[in-house]
Symmetry: C2
Subunit: 193 residues, 2 copies
């Protein structure tokens, strides 16, 4: 029961932070959406920042699941990098538009005002970059392409493509296409489709 | 005098939106920072959204100036794409850290909640992409590289690199370096340093 209430708060918050923004959503909105009293809310989350961390954990678990699935399906760089586009497609279906990367949104909004949360989100990006690095190391790259540099470039490209799709109200399919193009430019021709 | 007051409000807001975020800054904060009364504030800006547009205009004018200067200095793709890294370096000097792209920050925070502002910011990105497209068309690209696709890729990379530098508290120099690498991968070897 306790677990159910906490979970409901986190899922409601995840949705509201994505469809609006962290600062645009107040504690009262969160309580209404999760159908809990303020006392119950503060029992689970002494601060809004604590809730944000739980929301990051929720999304991170889903991202990890997507990455692992992509890795199991052959460990191709395209699949691993594209796992995020899958998540964006599902957000698009659910919300009718690109709402942004849950980590990128919080990074943009909170990095300058909540250093603890900044570090927390930065750790997610670090794990994500490591996944990409592993996939780049397994790929057959053009001569001179460094796996670490390519991993970082892919991560930045994903974030930039999601942000552009969000502000220009473009479809998630463009994120997938843009990412594919960047990766193809760095793979040895003919090795990977 | 009128002009001076309006200008002071816009510059204070530009600083506060960058160093905190749009929603983290209230009208009271803005009035205090600009040393104006609320009545005066609302005389110039009937809504906070109107102020945000004026802030976008202020930054866009500075960006345009940087692009034009880069174009005049030889119109090299590296210079045009790197104009933004220049702006980030100056923010870094002024604020002691990467505070994000003023357009990217607003795009991430407000695209889902203020559609008029989303369209306004999207127009800045469209002009920016056009500048990059023109520079890509003038560059000697690897066979098969489409100038339009490359322009979009560069824009996305700039946004992603700035966001990563912001959340990971990395130096502006990494934005310049990352951008240079992406561009070099698409230029015909030996043509551009």
């Amino acid at each position: 029961m306790e677990h159910g209430t906490r979970d409901r708060i986190v899922r409601s918050a995840a949705k509201l932070f994505l469809t609006r923004s962290y600062n645009a959503v107040g504690i009262a909105d969160l309580c209404t959406a999760a159908d809990v009293r303020k006392g119950s809310f503060y029992h689970f989350f002494p601060s809004k920042s604590d809730l944000a961390k739980a929301v990051v954990d929720l999304h991170a678990a889903e991202f990890e699941r997507q990455f692992t699935q992509a890795e199991n399906e052959g460990a191709q760089l395209h699949a691993v990098a594209g796992a995020v586009a899958e998540v964006q497609s599902r957000f698009e279906e659910r919300f009718g538009r690109i709402v942004g990367c849950p980590f990128g949104n919080l990074a943009a909004e909170l990095s300058t005002t909540d250093d603890e949360l900044r570090v927390y989100v930065a750790a997610v990006f670090a794990r994500w970059e490591q996944r990409l690095f592993d996939a780049c190391e397994r790929a057959v790259l053009r001569p001179g392409v460094d796996p670490g540099e390519l991993a970082r470039m892919i991560l930045a490209q994903v974030q930039g493509l999601i942000l552009l799709a969000k502000v220009q109200a473009r479809p998630a399919a463009e994120i997938t296409a843009g990412l594919r193009m960047l990766i193809n430019a760095h793979l040895l021709e003919g090795v990977t489709p």
